[in-house]
Amino acid sequence: MSVFQKAYRGDIHIDFVGHRKRFFIFSGVIIAISLLALGLRGFNLGIEFEGGVSIEVENANEVSVTEMRDAIDSIGLTGAKVQSVRDLSGREDIRVETEELSSDQQVELRALVAEVAGGEVGDFEAVSATFGSRVISIAIRALVIFLFAVTIYISLRLEWKMALAALAALFHDVLFTAGIYALIGFEVTPETIIAVLTILGYSLYDTVVVFDKVLENVSERGERHTYAALVNMSMNQVLMRSINTSLTSLLPVGMLLFVGSFLLGATTLREFALALFIGIAVGTYSSIFLAAPLLAVWKEHEEHWQRMRRRVERKGGAGEYAAKGIVSPDETPAEIAASINAAVARAPRKRRRHR
């Protein structure tokens, strides 16, 4: 039976926690690259954040980018960014972006651009810099509050350590997406914020479902397995579900990507869909290969679970889900004695008193 069929039936036993080192290293590399990209290149902010004027016009006269730029320079507006883009119907447009302009300058620029390109103005936007920075601060504030509220909710519903592990996976996802944007140089617009929030929401959602399963297994079989084994068990059980969910999320986004970039060739739609696509894929990856192993390692250090590990290993029942690579701590004879005593402590006493 193929791996896929096994997974479909729920028959697989992949050791996620045991192999965690390679996942951690992989994630580490990704984060390092992203940080590098962010530090060196920074973001390409759109006018909604920096302020400015953006005009997208149909390039009926088929002028080149340099011709347009020269025309704009000639009316005294230097430093304009001019590029050729494809709009939503696949038609070739020219997009001009400048810094903040006065109303009169806006009118002048619009007339000039329309004349040079010879086509219809599709999209015209003017944003003041103060408004742009307000949008940024509002977005950041919303993000912080969201993370805070979600952490509290997950802590209440599941466990606080799970909340933190989920947050770690989140940061990883967002950092990675930001790194991609910085590396490739996509423009950061409010739609980017939407993409990032979608990825956040999706990653959290996925992680919560996985952890929910872990919690369930802990409550049902927590007496017989180490935490790492429980996590492995849960992961294998939800693997199919996780893959299915990413697929059903990626399908509509993939459609958007396909429609956007191949069918129509629309630039902004393609960038948005690509960001979403990569982000959702990374979100799935981080829930399974990052958040869960992290949680396992963390929880294993708790006293209760260390005792459990020793007990399981002593009984020799490593089980099919045991995680290789997690070793129980060295014990002194005194500790062994103490744990044995603790294990048999209760029952006899009451009877003795009765005598």
Partner: protein, 583 residues
């Protein structure tokens, strides 16, 4: 779940949702499309810091009436967003400059007697200052000549005049205007807020900044380039006596004391075509065929004031600038007509009507119309600054809509196919559920659009597309759980029931996180992110409802049919387990 209960629940749910869809489609309450899906113009106007909420509401009212009077805009949306911004959305508007002017113009109108004016674009104030300087110099020069008589030994030649005066005045230094400003008016200072120094004078240009109708001012006519020195907007007698006060401008003045002649004294204004050149008692005749003018109708009190003002003005001779009065709109002179010679100081102009003749323009009729609309509904209570504006052409709008629809529907179809592949007949349950989901969202947006003016934007469409993934996940969680329970050895019936109990908990937990995100975003963000949040919230809510009221009973029903226990296509077949094992 009992068979009857399941059947009833499913039928009721299907009926409700599909029924409301039919109702919405039938009554035409389709979702309102946002600007980026149908084209139009939108602008966000920012009020000064600390503006009262009531003031913002009043401004919205005035702007709405102006837009409606202009016509040609279907369903404009004007609303206050957060504490100092007004968002104006005008779908279908093609002439953005007109629309912009209509909502952005403050419309503060004043009638001020002219004192003097300059035609060469230099403020009369600068002339005064220069004259004062020259006077000063010659005064000092003559003083110099008088001085040396005390000192006979050192005879510095007394005839050398201004070139050797101790007070050197280099020629290119900005003229000091402070010396020639009338009492009560100061030079503008950079670090004082504009609102605290209304009517101050710019030290370089000699023009007034921030128009205060109760003070003298130096104002520009942007079309002719003339700069006028005007008196306060009261009777000359009041001005000279110092009693020019108005309770509408200064709250410390007792109510009823309204001596200024302002736009608030108008009862109405219309555009009018006047043949044979400027008619009426005032206004310089344009000559020729005719022209568009704006008629101003004063109310009773305004008419009386107007008559009194014109009587005063008529006392000056024809040709004297002081016979003119300036019509000032938002701190700029739009017209400064002189009264025709027939009007005497005894009559003034009665009848309470004034005429504004416009300067040259490409479309005088439109200009007259726009101006009359702005004046008709009164001035905006505060002046706004444009913080962002966006114009989307109709073609771009409809392209965006089609792209969104194709992606959305295409995505839905793909997801449905995938679910069929994985879960066989259960996938069919899912497909019906997806149609329910789509209907719910459509109805929600339609109703919200009709009641609260909520529009569906491209961001909203993106939100819905993303939620398709989330709602499919609910099914997946449930179905996988059923699989698990069956593998544990439960009978199909009990597997379904147990699975749902557990799965719903998971779905609820995870969907709450999504709802959190949506609600937070909605209240904290502005613009397109808000639309996304709304779509996400509605979709997530739909998901929870449908999972409980449809999926559960539907699966229970299916299990009882041969599709439950049957061959490969059935539920049991999908779980991949052998036929029921008796424990």
């Amino acid at each position: 779940m009992g068979r009857r209960v399941a059947l009833i629940t499913v039928l009721v749910t299907l009926g409700l949702i599909w029924g409301s869809l039919a109702a919405v489609l039938g009554t035409g309450t389709t979702p309102k499309l946002g600007l980026d899906l149908q084209g139009g113009f939108s602008v966000v106007l920012e009020a000064p810091e600390g503006t009262d909420a009531g003031v913002l509401e009043k401004a919205v009212e005035i702007m709405t009436r102006r837009i409606e009077a202009l016509g040609g805009v279907q369903e404009p949306v004007l609303k206050v967003v957060d504490d100092r911004n007004i968002q104006v959305e005008l779908p279908g508007v093609t002439d953005r400059e007109r629309a912009r002017a209509a909502v952005g113009t403050t419309g503060q109108l004043e009638f001020r007697p002219v004192i003097t004016y300059s035609t060469i674009g230099v403020s009369p104030l600068l002339f005064d200052a220069q004259q004062a300087n020259a006077l000063q110099e010659s005064l000092e020069a003559s003083l110099q000549e008088v001085e040396p008589t005390d000192d006979t030994t050192t005879t510095s030649s007394p005839t050398t005049t201004s070139s050797t005066t101790t007070t050197t005045i280099p020629e290119d230094v900005p003229l000091d205007l402070a010396g020639v400003l009338p009492a009560g008016i100061s030079l503008c200072e950079d670090d004082v807020a504009a609102n605290d120094q209304l009517g101050c004078v710019d030290p370089v240009t000699g023009l007034s900044v921030g128009d205060d109708p109760l003070k003298e001012a130096w104002l520009l006519n942007p079309e002719t380039g003339y700069i006028y020195h005007v008196a306060p907007a009261c009777l000359r007698a009041d001005w000279l006596a110092g009693t020019c006060a108005d309770s509408r401008l200064d709250p410390t003045v007792p109510e009823g004391e309204q001596r200024a002649l302002l736009g608030a004294d108008l009862a109405g204004s219309e555009k009018q075509y006047q043949s044979q050149g400027g008619g009426g008692p005032i206004g310089v005749g344009g000559g020729g065929v005719g022209q568009w003018v704006v008629i101003l109708d004063f109310n009773d009190e305004g008419a009386a004031k107007f008559e009194a003002v014109t009587k005063e003005l008529a006392a000056f001779a024809y040709g004297d600038p002081q016979r003119q009065f300036a019509i000032v709109l938002d701190g700029q002179v739009i017209s400064a007509p002189s009264m025709s010679p027939e009007i005497t100081a005894a009559d003034g102009i009665s009848g309470g009507t004034a005429i504004i003749t416009l300067g040259s323009s490409d479309d005088p009729e439109q200009e007259a119309e726009d101006l009359s609309v702005v004046l008709r509904y009164g001035a905006l209570p505060v002046s706004f600054v444009e913080s962002t504006s966006q114009e989307v052409s109709a073609t771009l709008g409809s392209d965006s809509l089609s792209a969104g629809l194709i992606a959305g529907i295409g995505g839905l179809i793909l997801v449905a196919l995938a679910m069929l592949l994985y879960y066989r007949f259960l996938g069919l349950v899912n497909i019906i559920g997806l149609t329910l989901f789509g209907s719910f969202v459509y109805v929600a947006f339609g109703v919200l659009g009709a009641t609260s003016g909520v529009t569906l934007t491209l961001a909203g469409v993106a939100g819905i597309i993303v939620s398709v993934g989330i709602t499919s996940d609910s099914y997946i969680v449930y179905f996988e759980r059923i699989k698990e329970e069956v593998h544990r050895g439960r009978s199909l019936q009990s597997a379904i029931d147990h699975a749902f109990a557990r799965a719903f908990r998971t779905i609820l937990t995870a969907d709450t996180v999504s709802l959190f995100a949506a609600v937070l975003l909605y209240f904290l963000a502005i613009g397109s992110v808000k639309g996304f949040a709304l779509a996400l919230g509605i979709a997530t809510f739909a998901d929870v409802l449908i999972a409980y009221f449809y999926t559960r009973p539907a699966v229970a029903l299916v299990a009882r049919t041969r599709f439950g226990e049957g061959g490969r296509l059935s539920i049991r077949g999908a779980t991949g387990a052998a036929k029921e094992v008796v424990l």
